[in-house]
């Protein structure tokens, strides 16, 4: 009993169980609606892994939500629910586009400049919510939701401006080529083109996709945030504030400052995610009809990852993989791709229980010999 509950208490075990449960529930739904779940899952995995290009596409789609996931996971550690991540992401895309169009420095400056500008913008945007929380006691969820819409319409406003709008379209101009992702610029260069001609594998994963360095940056950020949280005095402070702000305050830690800094860092991570989407994938800003959910999907990723920044990498890949592979379900056997939403929803729901279930196990253990439940 003790050993079983020890294994069960381990977070990763629980997340894996949640994933299995998710697949079982989705299978049940599929079965009830007359589809063979095994067939559907075979197609799902074929759509994810059968070609190297698919895997690359999953990685590309995962990169932004890994970063927004890290943003949410980081804030969670400090006891804040960064639902404003969507708006911070959008502000990142807006500022990246504006900077990318207005300036034209050499690539070595232009590309980092765009990323820094996007991150800074997202960070400041998050810090406003942090300031309101720290100084005025306004809950970050309220401000976050409202700020998401402000960012949404601000983006559409920028697209409408004469200086940026590509006439006859609903998008801005492309950002200057100096700001394109280095992978893109390399594959477009004569050297890159020649190599792609010779190597069919590279042509498959780089030439036919929007491969970009987003995933590398996401991994670096995950490692960096983990390092900050675990090894530095700042991380110690942030964790202390997240776990008990009263004891932290009484111990001389500035709770207000840490609240603002947390949303600054979380916002910067989301803003960076937005900037990377511009440089690496879309290269311009579109007028939006609805929120794109890169931020909100980050919430799901962070929850699936159990609030771990490193875990967000794997959760982001899983999330993107299921969504990407889900497309082929509909194409090949006509099963609704919404089944993927049910699948992901169930996994998130079950992982959210991760925090609850160990408590339940403890309670059951405490009852010991008591037969009644």
């Amino acid at each position: 009993m003790d050993n079983i509950s020890k294994i069960l208490k381990h977070k990763i075990t629980f997340i894996l169980i949640a994933i299995v449960v998710g697949f079982l529930v989705a299978a049940l739904v599929l079965g009830l609606t007359g589809y063979n779940p095994l067939e559907v899952y075979r197609i799902l995995f074929k759509g994810m892994f059968s070609k190297p290009r698919y895997i690359m596409n999953i990685i590309i789609k995962a990169s932004p939500i890994i970063l927004t996931g890290i943003s949410v996971a980081f804030a969670l550690r400090v006891g804040l629910f960064n639902i404003g991540v969507e708006g911070q992401y959008i502000v990142g895309t807006i500022v990246a586009t504006v900077v990318g169009i207005l300036f034209d420095f050499p690539p070595l400056i232009q590309f980092p400049l765009i990323l820094i500008a996007g991150a800074l913008a997202g960070g400041l945007y998050g810090a406003i919510a942090g300031y309101l929380k720290a100084k005025r006691g306004i809950h970050e969820v309220i401000t976050g939701i409202m700020f998401n819409w402000i960012a949404f319409y601000a983006g559409n406003y920028v697209v409408s401006l004469e200086r940026f709008k590509d006439p006859g379209t609903t998008t801005t101009y492309f950002i200057n080529a100096s700001g394109f992702d280095p992978v893109y610029n390399w594959k477009m260069s004569p050297v890159g083109q020649e190599l792609l001609q010779q190597n069919s594998f590279l042509r498959e994963i780089l030439g036919r996709t929007s491969a970009n360095i987003g995933i590398i940056i996401a991994i670096i950020v995950a490692l960096l945030i983990t390092f900050i949280l675990r090894k530095t005095t700042k991380g110690y402070e942030l964790r202390a504030v997240g776990l008990n702000k009263y004891a932290s305050g009484a111990s001389g830690i500035n709770v207000e400052k840490n609240t603002m800094q947390t949303l600054l860092i979380a916002g910067a991570t989301a803003g960076l995610s937005g900037a990377l989407s511009i440089t690496g994938v879309s290269q311009r800003l579109f007028e939006l009809m609805a929120l794109e959910n890169y931020g909100f999907n980050g919430l799901s990723v962070a929850l699936m990852a159990g609030g771990s920044p490193i875990g967000s990498i794997f959760a982001g890949l899983l999330f993107a993989g299921l969504n990407y592979g889900g497309g082929s379900i509909q194409l090949e056997i006509g099963a609704p791709s919404e089944i993927i939403d049910i699948l992901i929803g169930t996994i998130v729901f079950c992982t959210a229980l991760v925090t609850v279930v160990p408590l339940l196990i403890e309670k059951i253990n405490k009852r010991g010999g008591n037969k009644k439940c």
Binding site: G235, Y236, E237, A247, S248, G249, I253
Partner: protein, 510 residues
């Protein structure tokens, strides 16, 4: 053991396990009808668990309960109430913005039919109880407007209203002034004269001597003894309770005081309701002196500590440590000026429960070059420090440096805080309710630590609602009432009754 009818309660072979932990092991207890019976034991001895089983809040794994000689199965409190058992918990369960009468009838309302409450009928019944037992309360007052002692009376009336013949009181005197304690003892005697049985759970020895006829002692879930209180002295009781001999009165030499280290001048502080909780309060503490503040909870002690530690702003007045003004600065600045605080709420304000012992030890000093370099935490050094302090302060378990503090017992959690604060080497050490809820062994250790810090020449501000503690430890004793210090005394120049009177807002004549 025979089942006899003159025992109101007999519990036989009661065993209760929580997981692998045995809270009670084959405990027997017999309580005579119409007596006051006390249950004595350290924290964690199983006193409250045993009574919770009698009241049906917990179910025993083994054992039998007999009431007036008849075997009963008390599955839940409703059944206990049906059998005439009432319990007053340590933390009162009253609705703050209801009147006393409304609280008493809650859940057992008299109705005129159709669910309309017959308040007159209820009041009549309540007044009868009040008169009979001398429980003087005004049924029309709101709970939030009356004192803690009054609230306790309401709880007692509540139990009697439900027809209790056996009344269990859990640590009833913890929150009362000496005068209120006397009143409670009177009430208890009236209750037994009327044939009721009173069971009190306590770890205060002198009260047992005063009030009870019999006393059952528990230690770590084991039944130790039942004694007639007249036959034993307090030392015997304490030894039985702890299992070794203990010093009941902290040993200390006369204070060797130095210059004034800490002073407060004409301080005014507001509370959450924007009312003055501290009014024109002044005090000073010299090096090598323990200043104890006696007072009933809610007379400004909380606000005073929050003002000194800068968790709350002050309106007027000055707070100086070593001549440096610290009012309206920041908690960090206060710490830097060598003021260390053992806060009252150790779990909320004193510790980060999910941090390890080591992480909690450095909560105030993690930025010092000793524990971090260029913003990187030096984990090894912190662990080593924690190991050292665990040994020095006898924190158990002895290898807990990387365990979450949450898993430690209350006494050991407090030791972690004390280790951290004493290690800060402060000039002023503030200790608020440092021994609340701790057992005799831990209390002894904490008192010794405070006295040894004093002997090192530190100024110590002790705030406690336990009058015994303040009177024992303080070199100078100040009484706080309604936000002001009403009087101060040197140790030994004042008796408990005078202090009690001042604590309750009375005046001392002459």
């Amino acid at each position: 053991m025979n089942i006899q009818e003159d025992y109101a309660v007999q519990m036989r072979g009661i065993t209760k396990r929580f997981g692998s932990f045995t809270a009670l092991a084959h405990v027997d207890i017999k309580i005579k009808k119409g007596t006051i019976h006390s249950i004595l034991g350290e924290n964690g001895a199983g006193k409250t668990t045993l009574m919770n089983i009698l009241y049906g809040l917990l179910n025993a794994d083994e054992g039998e309960i007999y009431l007036n000689g008849k075997k009963v199965d008390i599955k839940n409190p409703n059944i206990a109430i049906e059998h005439g058992i009432g319990m007053v918990h340590q933390h009162f369960m009253l609705v703050e913005n209801f009147t006393i009468a409304q609280n008493i009838i809650l859940g057992k309302e008299e109705t005129k039919g159709l669910g309309v409450i017959d308040i007159d009928k209820a009041n009549e019944k309540i007044l009868k109880i009040i008169e009979k037992y001398g429980l003087e309360v005004d049924p029309n007052e709101l709970i939030e407007d009356v004192s803690v002692g009054m609230q306790q009376k309401v709880e007692i009336i509540k139990a009697l209203y439900r027809g209790a013949d056996i009344l269990i009181l859990d640590e009833p005197t913890a929150v009362l002034t000496p005068q209120e304690i006397k009143e409670l003892l009177n009430i208890m005697h009236k209750l037994i004269q009327d044939g009721k049985t009173v069971i009190i759970i306590t770890h205060k020895l002198n009260e047992i001597k005063e009030s009870c006829s019999e006393c059952t002692i528990l230690r770590r879930g084991q039944y130790i003894d039942t004694v007639n209180v007249c036959d034993v002295n307090e030392e015997d009781l304490a030894n039985k309770m702890v299992g070794r001999s203990v010093n009941l009165v902290a040993e200390k030499t006369p204070a060797k005081v130095g210059d004034v280290a800490f002073e407060i001048k004409n301080l005014f502080v507001k509370n959450e309701k924007d009312l003055y909780a501290i009014k024109d309060l002044s005090l000073e503490i010299r090096k090598g002196e323990i200043l104890g503040i006696a007072g009933i909870d809610g007379n400004g002690q909380k606000e005073l500590v929050e003002a000194i530690t800068n968790l709350k702003p002050t309106e007027k007045g000055k707070i100086r440590i070593n001549g440096v003004e610290i009012q309206n600065t920041s908690p960090a600045y206060v710490l830097k000026n060598k003021v260390a605080t053992i806060h009252e709420d150790r779990q909320k304000v004193g510790l980060v429960l999910d941090f390890t012992v080591a992480e909690n030890i450095v909560l105030e000093s993690f930025k010092s070059p000793e524990y971090s370099k260029n913003g990187i935490i030096l984990k090894d050094k912190i662990i080593n420090k924690a190991k050292e302090l665990i040994k020095k302060f006898d924190i158990r378990p002895g290898d807990s440096e990387e365990l979450a503090v949450r898993g430690l017992s209350g006494g050991n959690q407090q030791k972690v805080i004390i280790a951290r604060e004493v290690e800060n080497n402060p000039d002023l050490l503030i200790a608020v309710q440092p021994t609340r809820g701790l057992d005799v062994g831990a209390i002894e250790f904490i008192h010794k630590t405070l006295i040894s810090e004093r002997d090192k020449g530190k100024a110590i501000l002790l705030i406690s609602y336990e009058l015994d503690e303040v009177m024992n430890l303080s070199d100078t004793l100040a009484v706080i009432y309604d936000g002001s210090i009403v009087d101060t005394f040197k140790q030994g120049t004042v008796d408990e009754n005078t202090i009690g009177l001042l604590m309750a807002g009375g005046k001392v004549s002459g």
